[in-house]
Symmetry: C2
Subunit: 192 residues, 2 copies
Amino acid sequence: MDPKPYHHGDLRTALLASAEAELAEHGIEAFSLRQVAKRAGVSHAAPAHHFGDANGLLTALAAEGFRQFLAAQAAREAVAEQTPRARMIAAGLGYVDFATARPALFRLMHASDRPAFDTPDLGVVAKQAYDHLCAGVAAIAPGAKAADIAAVWATAHGLADLMCSGRLHSISGLPTAERDAAITDIMGRALP
Amino acid sequence: MDPKPYHHGDLRTALLASAEAELAEHGIEAFSLRQVAKRAGVSHAAPAHHFGDANGLLTALAAEGFRQFLAAQAAREAVAEQTPRARMIAAGLGYVDFATARPALFRLMHASDRPAFDTPDLGVVAKQAYDHLCAGVAAIAPGAKAADIAAVWATAHGLADLMCSGRLHSISGLPTAERDAAITDIMGRALP
DNA sequence: GTCCAATCTTGTCAGTGTCAGGATAGGGTG
DNA sequence: CACCCTATCCTGACACTGACAAGATTGGAC
């Protein structure tokens, strides 16, 4: 109940939440570490202790993003028809779900130099996401070639990226059911 | 021959070239207007006269990028078999050509908030690029639906974006002929 | 020859990331 | 209980950035 206890308690988590909020409000190009600290109610140098520097914070945030990304795919796969093909399409729907629900985070993960992917934390989850894709394709066609993986990935990623920056209103503006049907149609074309 | 004439002559063009070089070297997130000015050999406030502010410069640069983008597609289409389907695939190859040749510019055009797309200069060329895509799809199937356009766009854009950030070595690492064949294969799946 | 508009410079301001050093708290050891 | 030690957080400073204001320089129109 103290208005400002010296020790925050869980500043690391609070900073990650503040950072994502700042990212969502002002975009990554106007991202300011000092604003993040101000939002969390701490001094401008407090984040340094937990994340090293600004890129460290963004790296941790991107890793958290990849975990939510995998969760979004898993959620779609859980309610999908349990065939390799339907599961792969569900993963694509989850891909798009995440991108449209958290566009700022999506951009941080896929179009920014600031997160350090050679870090254990982020590197592991990023590889995990890629492996998940490969496994999905392999389940459909055991003899799948590199082009098959690329086709599926590019289609899902292209849809997600375009919608995330609001450039596919013809799809994203549709009612949910029709939107999902359109994505299912498009994803289906890429599958081996 | 003067080492430093007060009037540059064509500073606007020089600044655009410097800006692209800075972008390519340090990425958009470390983009600095003062570094651009220094590279062009002028004072830090000189760009303001030609572009207003930093985003104005990036807007002009993005517009220039879209012109080169359209040129890259046209170059591929010119040497392609003159059928609607082959031309559309050629446009996809041009899409990827541009993204891999100028990744920094590609990112500026597709994953940045800084260029102002509601500007006449940039707005026109961006719409021109989109219209070119729609025309290509319509030439293949006169009754093409929105999903057909989205499928083609997403595939080309996804391939380009993933390669531009170095995440599709299985394709981009191929010898030119095989690389083009793989892209042709993948693009072909999306066409109506 | 004079004036004007375009062009470029210098100087300044608030805001930013990072570093160094100091303050505070909580938990263990004697 | 007194002590210290480490993690945590703050204050202060530095160089750098984008933007603005005001002045200097240039080429050309009249």
